[in-house]
């Protein structure tokens, strides 16, 4: 533990011995943190390390069980976000709090003091947005905007209160690489203006590029404060994870016949704010891992629902599984054809949170896995799947058959992926396979997907994580506003090229090429 900064400057905000206890669980365990003016301070850690808890305490959203906050050396008690804001602390959350049906200006006005007139707010909004190079049209409704634009609203809203400290919670999780670069320019300007930025992330390269100081949390404890530019990504990762992270072994694989073929799939959204799927075509061959990249909200959820059959009502030939048309079939009929699906949301979609793991094995297994005999469930077969998944995928749990929600994110994700892999599927469609899970579990899951493909399965991975796709995918296509780009060989494509496609650039002219590439 070495503090790299000179002790002469006065910290803007100090957290001293912060403890946050939830029942028997220590979310924050005696954390000290100093944020200085004019620095970008990274708060690094895996999911569950206690980052969000700590910043919520700093923003007055929750109260620490012990310890105190000092603002410019003076002890303060923040009873709520409004007190934090009046001190000069602004925050941009990972999940935006915006009303979709209201305009940009209306949303900003809602978050500001009622004393200011709406015209004056709109004017200040436009000035602030222009001053920082964050273009925003005040009169546009939020639902028309991309995720990146929505984030701009949140940032501008925070900047309009002229904060001395701006807290950003995983701001690049939803951005394309280019959008992230634009954000970094803005953040560097704020730093030059003497403002402090507390930047929460688990992306190491980005922290090394942007931040002056990094504080690393693990399991609720502070591990170190360091200068990230003097560390390597590997050394930072070691501090975050507390051990070496395994590399995925990529075996060379031979591709066989296409096992899932999608042809000219168009589908209107089920609700007003959904994305229309527009003429999507691709195929995945046996042995291949096909990655679909893209910023969230560009039709990935709709595509998953169409592929799984949760939204059927298509014409039959748009989706073909192992040579048989499946477009009009429901999710169970597709499972009987050898397809398996892992949805993005672990709790509530993939599993019923308050049901036991054995029952959650039945959830996707009842149609095709011998767990039902003449309408009766076979408990033994359900438990057998739980035991096999536990063993093969190292699912850690307190008891043999606990409720799904008692597992940690990573262990539950290993279970829901394992549950499908154990069915030995011919086609596996998986959305965000390692979203929000720890590095160890992520490596296990990616290895399992690679091994499954090596076994002859066609694997389709929908992911926002480009690193993940580069690590395991053979070909990558990008979704933007309901359309899918031509697939690109993962070996030959650059991050920049994918980033441009994720931002919508170059999608249109490549359309004819797309159909040819698919047929190849």
């Amino acid at each position: 533990m070495h503090d790299v900064r000179s002790a002469s400057r006065e910290p803007l905000l100090q957290a001293v011995g912060i403890v946050k206890r939830y029942g028997d669980f220590l979310a924050n365990d005696d954390i000290d943190l100093d944020v200085f003016p004019g620095e970008i301070h990274a708060l690094l850690g895996e999911n569950g390390a206690g980052k969000s808890t700590l910043v919520k305490i700093m923003y007055g959203l929750i109260q620490p069980s012990a310890g105190e906050l000092r603002w410019l050396g003076r002890t303060v008690v923040l009873d709520g976000p409004s007190e934090a804001r009046s001190l000069g602390i602004g925050m941009v959350f990972q999940h935006f709090s915006l009303f979709e049906n209201l305009t940009v200006a209306e949303n900003v006005a809602l978050g500001l003091s009622a004393a200011e007139s709406f015209t004056s707010i709109s004017k200040r909004l436009q000035e602030t947005a222009e001053a920082y190079g964050l273009p925003l049209e005040p009169r546009r409704e939020v639902w028309r905007l991309s995720v990146g634009e929505r984030q701009r609203i949140e940032i501008v809203r925070a900047l309009m209160q002229n904060p001395k400290l701006l807290i950003l919670d995983e701001p690049t999780a939803v951005l394309t690489p280019q959008e992230a670069d634009q954000l970094f320019v803005v953040l560097n300007r704020l730093k030059e203006e003497g403002r402090a930025i507390l930047y929460i992330s688990h992306k190491l390269e980005e922290v090394k590029r942007l931040c002056d100081t990094a504080t690393i949390l693990r399991g609720g404890k502070k591990i170190a404060t360091c200068d990230p530019r003097r560390e390597t990504a590997a050394s930072l990762a070691r501090m975050m994870v507390g051990g070496q992270v395994g590399e995925v072994r990529v075996s060379s694989r031979a591709f066989s016949q296409p096992r899932i073929v999608v042809r000219n799939l168009s589908l209107s959204p089920a609700d007003d704010h959904g994305t229309r799927l527009d003429d999507i075509s691709f195929e995945v061959r046996g042995g291949e891992i096909f990655g679909i990249a893209g910023v969230a909200g560009n039709g990935q959820d709709e595509l998953f629902a169409a592929l799984s059959g949760e939204r059927a009502s298509l014409t039959s030939p748009t989706i073909v599984i192992d040579g048989k048309p499946a477009g009009r079939l429901g999710v169970n009929a597709r499972r009987r054809m050898g397809a398996a699906f892992v949805a993005e949301e672990r709790l509530g979609h993939c599993t019923a949170p308050r049901m036991k793991l054995s029952e959650n094995a039945l959830l996707t297994g009842h149609a095709a896995s011998g767990m039902v005999s003449r309408g009766f469930v076979v408990k033994r077969a359900m438990l057998a799947i739980v035991d096999r998944a536990t063993e093969s995928f190292d699912v850690r749990k307190a008891r043999r058959d606990p409720e799904a929600m008692s597992l940690s994110g990573g262990n539950l994700q290993k279970f829901v992926v394992g549950r499908e892999i154990l069915r030995d599927p011919g086609v596996l469609v998986v959305a965000q396979p390692t979203w929000g899970v720890d590095a160890g579990a992520a490596a296990t899951i990616r290895q399992a997907l690679v091994d499954l493909a090596a076994h002859g399965t066609a694997v389709l991975v929908i992911s926002q994580d480009l690193d993940e796709l580069f690590e395991i995918a053979d070909r990558i296509a990008v979704m933007f506003r309901g359309r899918l780009s031509a697939p690109l060989g993962a070996a030959g494509v650059t991050r920049e090229k994918l980033g441009l496609l994720m931002g919508g650039a170059g999608a249109e002219p490549e359309k004819p090429e797309a159909s040819r590439a698919v047929g190849a």
């Binding site: 509530g348 993939c350 949170p353 049901m355």
Partner: protein
Amino acid sequence: MQLVLERRAERSNFATIASPLAAIALTLVTTAVLFAILGKNPFVGLEVYFLDPLTDPYSLGEILVKATPLVMIAVGLSFCYIANIWNIGAEGQFLIGAVAGSWLAVRTNGTDAGPWVLPAMLVLGTLGGALYGLIPAICKVRFGASEILTSLMLVYVANFGMDYLVRGPWRDPHGLNFPTTADFDPVATVPVLIDGTRVHAGVLIALLVVILASVVLGRTLMGFEMRLVGAAPKAARFSGFSTDRLVLVTFAVSGALAGLAGIIEVAGPVGHLQPDISPGYGFTAIIVAFLGRLNPIGILIAGLFLALTFIGGENAEIMIKVPLDLTKVIQGILLFYVLACDSMIVYRARLLHTAQKAAHADA
């Protein structure tokens, strides 16, 4: 000092059993207070209400008779409630079942129809209840109408429809203008099991329903479907189950069981169709379902307990001169405590000292 509720990591098995027992205990204490307020000796009151009916064979038989419709209806309702589907209209389905079965009894009255009449009546009652239950279900699936409102409103339709029949076309011509049908023939009557009581064969049917429901809920895919739709609708869709289909199925099943209970009640203890065949069985069964933890065995026990309050209430009216409506008050208090104690299954209460208070303020 401050009391806070914390979510438990897992459902507590102990609390699942302790919660209804605690609810009953709290109800007894509150009832004792009520007796005291009414100027009666609370201990005598409780004894008359909850103990005396258990000491004499006739009252024990009456408890079985009252518990039979309660248990059958509540088992059907539990199917709906487990799936988060809200059938509040079991009272109406009970009445329509009674009417549908009685139609055959009235038609064959005084003829030499054979022993097929009673089974046919039971089938008609079951069908009638099921079809009547399907009305709100179809309205929900087709038009998105709230089943809570439609099923409740249909209770009144059933009530007045039956009233019309017994005062009009089906009225017993020799019945001195009382609004009642003629007494059913022996072939249209549920046989009494124990002489000297009114305990009838319907008790066995109720037991059979409890056993079948236990098997369906605990062991079959359909039971899993109901639990899954109730617990996590999105996961249920992922599992390939259709909520619409389940609305239709659970309403039909709960309607069928309520209808069967209805025809057994008129063809058994009552013996003819008349307006006041139900002291609110369909509504009391909602309490039974929740007190029994939506579990068939639990419902059997809860049904016996609620039946005890009916009999105890009648006793208390005669013995210590308290109003019969006290029974409804006690049933209401019981439901209140059941729902309150249920929170303890998912949450646990902790007393916090002032120092810890701040820590939990926003947690």
